[in-house]
C-alpha cells in the first residue's frame, strides 16, 4: 500500500486536520487531541503499525502550544507515519499510551525531563540523563542558557599580552594570526 | 661457595627473564612495522612501580599472597637442571617440578579473593579452569619422555640421554611430543590464543586488577622468573640442555617462536580452550605414548 492509501483509510473514520506527505514512504498527519487513543488503536490492530519508533516534541512559544508527534512504523509495507497533536502550554498534561505501546515509557520519561510535560498514568518518570539538575526544564524556549552559564561558572581572564609572554615571534605564525602581535 | 653460586644463578635467571620480556615487546613492534619501546623497558617499569609512594592493600591475605607467589616460583627455580648452579636438588624429579608450578596461581587466587573485585574473580576462575587443559598435556609428555629414558622420572637423566650432539635430541625422535609440549607451553605462559585469563580490555587485566604499586612490581618480578623456568623446562625436555652459552641462546630462540604465534592469533574462550586441549594435543601425545610403550 502507498502512503496516500493509508491516509485515505484513516480519513474515512476520523477527522484529519492537515496532511503533509514528504515522500513515498513518510507522511505526517495532524488530528485532534481527543482522537489520539482511537487512532493509535486503529493503526496498530487494523493496519499493521506495530512498531513505535519515537515520540518527538517541539515548543511553539508564540502559539502557546506544545506539539507531540507519534512516529509509527510498519514492517510489512515499510512506511513511517507521524501522528501529530497540539496540546496546551500552560497546563501540559496528557494520558500515557504505554498500554498500547510499551516502549513509550522511555520516550515519555525523556520528554518529561526536558520539557516538563506530565504524562498521567506513567509511574516511571524519574530523572534519566540530568542527574544533578535542579533548575527548570532546559529545552523550553524561555530558559536562557547563556544567563544560567554566566551565573554559575567563571571564565578565564583574557590577557592581551598572551603571545609575548609565551615568547611567540611573528615569523612562527602564518596568516591572520600575525595581527594579534 | 654454595651461596655465592646460588646468588649468581638468581641474577642470571632474573636478567634473562627481563631480556625475554623486552624482546617480546620489540619483536611485536617490528612485526607491526613500528619502532617499539627499548629492550630494557620492563626494567624501568619495575623500578617505577617500586617507587610509588602508597600501596593500597585490602588485608593480610593480599600481603601473604604476594609472598606465596614469589616464594613458589623461587623454590621451583632450584629444581630445574641448568648449567649455572652446580648443586641442583637431585633428589627430586619432574613430577615435583610440575607440581610446584601450581603454587603461583593458588597464591594469586587467595589474594584476589580478599580484594573482592568482580573482574579479578572472573579472571582467576578462568585461569584455574584452563589448568585442567594444559596440565594434563604436559604431564603426559613428561611421563612419556621419562619412560623413553629408561623408565625413571629423574629429570637430569632425561637431559643426559640427549647428550652427544644434535642427532640425539628428543625433538627429532619424538616429534609429536614436541608439538603437544609446545602448545601446552603456550597455555602455561598465558600467550595468545590462551590469553583469556588476562584479557586486557574485557575484564581490566583480570586477576591483577586491584594490585598496584609495590604489589604489581612483585608480580612483574615473578613473571620474569616464571618465563625462565617454563621455557627452560621445554629446552631441557626436547633440546638437550646445554652449556652456559647455548642454554640462553636456545631459550631466546624458543621464546621468539612463541612470540610469533602470539602476534598472529586471537583469543579462545575458556570452554573452547579446554575443549581444544582435550581434542588435539592430548590425542597426539597419547599416540606417541603408545608408540613409546610398544618399543
Amino acid at each position: 500500500m502507498k502512503v496516500s492509501e493509508i491516509i485515505y483509510e484513516i480519513k474515512k473514520h476520523f477527522d484529519v486536520l492537515s496532511i503533509d506527505e514528504k515522500n513515498e514512504k513518510y507522511a505526517q498527519i495532524e488530528i485532534n487531541e481527543k482522537d489520539l487513543r482511537n487512532v493509535l488503536l486503529h493503526c496498530k490492530h487494523n493496519m499493521n503499525f506495530i512498531h513505535l519508533s519515537a515520540i518527538s516534541s517541539v515548543d511553539y512559544i508564540k502559539d502557546n502550544k506544545f506539539s507531540l508527534v507519534y512516529n509509527l512504523f510498519s514492517y510489512k509495507e515499510s512506511i513511517l507515519l507521524g501522528i501529530k497533536i497540539l496540546i496546551n502550554r500552560e497546563k501540559a498534561e496528557i494520558a500515557t499510551i504505554n498500554d498500547i505501546y510499551h516502549p513509550a515509557i522511555f520516550f515519555e520519561r525523556d520528554i518529561h525531563e526536558m520539557l516538563g510535560i506530565n504524562f498521567i498514568g506513567n509511574n516511571h518518570l524519574e530523572k534519566f540523563i540530568l542527574d544533578e539538575w535542579d533548575g527548570p526544564p532546559p529545552m523550553r524556549k524561555d530558559f536562557d542558557t547563556l544567563e544560567y552559564v554566566n551565573d554559575t561558572f567563571d571564565w578565564y581572564e583574557y590577557d592581551p599580552e598572551w603571545a609575548k609572554k609565551l615568547g611567540i615571534k611573528k615569523e612562527d605564525l602564518a596568516g591572520e594570526e600575525m595581527e594579534i602581535l | 661457595m654454595v651461596i655465592l653460586n646460588g646468588l649468581i644463578y638468581l641474577l642470571v635467571s632474573f636478567v634473562t627473564g627481563l631480556i625475554l620480556m623486552g624482546i617480546s615487546l620489540k619483536v611485536t613492534a617490528r612485526v607491526q612495522k613500528r619502532i617499539g619501546p627499548p629492550i630494557m623497558q620492563p626494567w624501568f617499569d619495575i623500578l617505577k612501580l617500586f617507587s610509588k609512594k602508597t600501596n593500597i592493600s585490602h588485608g593480610y591475605m593480599m600481603d601473604i599472597s604476594v609472598l606465596m607467589l614469589l616464594g613458589g616460583t623461587l623454590l621451583s627455580l632450584f629444581f630445574l637442571p641448568n648449567p649455572y648452579f652446580a648443586h641442583t636438588i637431585y633428589a627430586a624429579d619432574i613430577i615435583v617440578l610440575l607440581y610446584l608450578l601450581l603454587f603461583p596461581s593458588l597464591g594469586m587466587a587467595m589474594g584476589v579473593g580478599e580484594a573482592a573485585n568482580p573482574n579479578g574473580s572472573i579472571g582467576i576462575s578462568r585461569a584455574l579452569t584452563m589448568l585442567a587443559g594444559y596440565d594434563f598435556t604436559i604431564t603426559i609428555v613428561a611421563v612419556g619422555l621419562a619412560i623413553a629414558a629408561n623408565g625413571i622420572t629423574y629429570f637430569p637423566a632425561i637431559v643426559s640421554s640427549q647428550a652427544g650432539g644434535f642427532i640425539h635430541w628428543n625433538i627429532l625422535h619424538y616429534p609429536l611430543f614436541a608439538i603437544a609440549g609446545f602448545i601446552a607451553l603456550l597455555g602455561m605462559l598465558g600467550e595468545k590464543p590462551f590469553e583469556v585469563m588476562v584479557a586486557p580490555h574485557e575484564i581490566a587485566t583480570g586477576p591483577m586488577t586491584e594490585f598496584g604499586g609495590k604489589y604489581l612490581g612483585m608480580l612483574f618480578v615473578q613473571h620474569a622468573f616464571a618465563l625462565f623456568i617454563e621455557v627452560g623446562i621445554f629446552v631441557n625436555l626436547f633440546l638437550g640442555g646445554g652449556n652456559i652459552y647455548s642454554f640462553i641462546a636456545k631459550i631466546i630462540g624458543v621464546f621468539i617462536l612463541l612470540n610469533f604465534v602470539n602476534i598472529v592469533f586471537a583469543r579462545f574462550k575458556t570452554e573452547e580452550a579446554v575443549a581444544f586441549f582435550w581434542k588435539y594435543p592430548i590425542i597426539l601425545a597419547m599416540l606417541q605414548l603408545i608408540w613409546v610403550v610398544i618399543r
Partner: protein, 193 residues
Amino acid sequence: MSNKKIVDQKAAWNHVYRRLNKRSLWMLHYCTGCGAVELPPTMTSRWDMSRFGVAPMVTPRQADILLITGYLAKKSLKRVILTYEQMQSPKWVVGFGSCTINGGMYWDSYSTIKQLSEYIPVDIYIAGCMPQPEAIIHGFNVLLDKINNGTANAWKDYYINYKKYRENQVKVLGEFVTNTDIEKEARYYGVVK
C-alpha cells in the same frame, strides 16, 4: 655538617627516581569525550607512542596519567573525581583540547563545565580541537621534561588547597560522598602538618 649530608642524599635519591619515573608512564585509557578518537592513531604504527615508554593501562590502581579528552558533563565530572582520588601518587593530569581550557565549542551549554582546573589540579594542557597526534607527542615530551626538572607537582596542590577544590565541586554537583580520607593521606605524604 651531618645534617647537610642527609639532605643531599635525599635530593640525590629524588633525582634518580625522577629520571627513572619519566621512562615509563602509563596512561589511563578512559575516554571521557570526543577527543579520545585521536588516541588510537597515536598508539599504533604510524605515530608510535610506545617508544617513549607510554603505554595504555585499564585500571586506575595501576595508571599514572589521567587524560581528560574533551568536554566533561556534570555527570562524568563526579565519576572523574572519584577515579582521580583512587589513583596512587605521584600522578599527573593532562587536559586535552579546548573544552578543558575555557569551555571550547560547548561554551554556552548548561550542563558541561568550563574550566577543569577549578575541580582537579591540572599539569599541562594540549590545545586544539582535536589536537593532531604530533601535537600529542610534543605535549607528552613537555610533560617528561617537567617531571625531569621536578616541577610537575600538581598532585600535592590537591591536598594543600583541598577546601577550595571541594567548595567548587559541591557548588556544581551538590553534596556527594567520597570514600577516600583526604586529610589522612595529606598527613602521610608530609604535605600538610
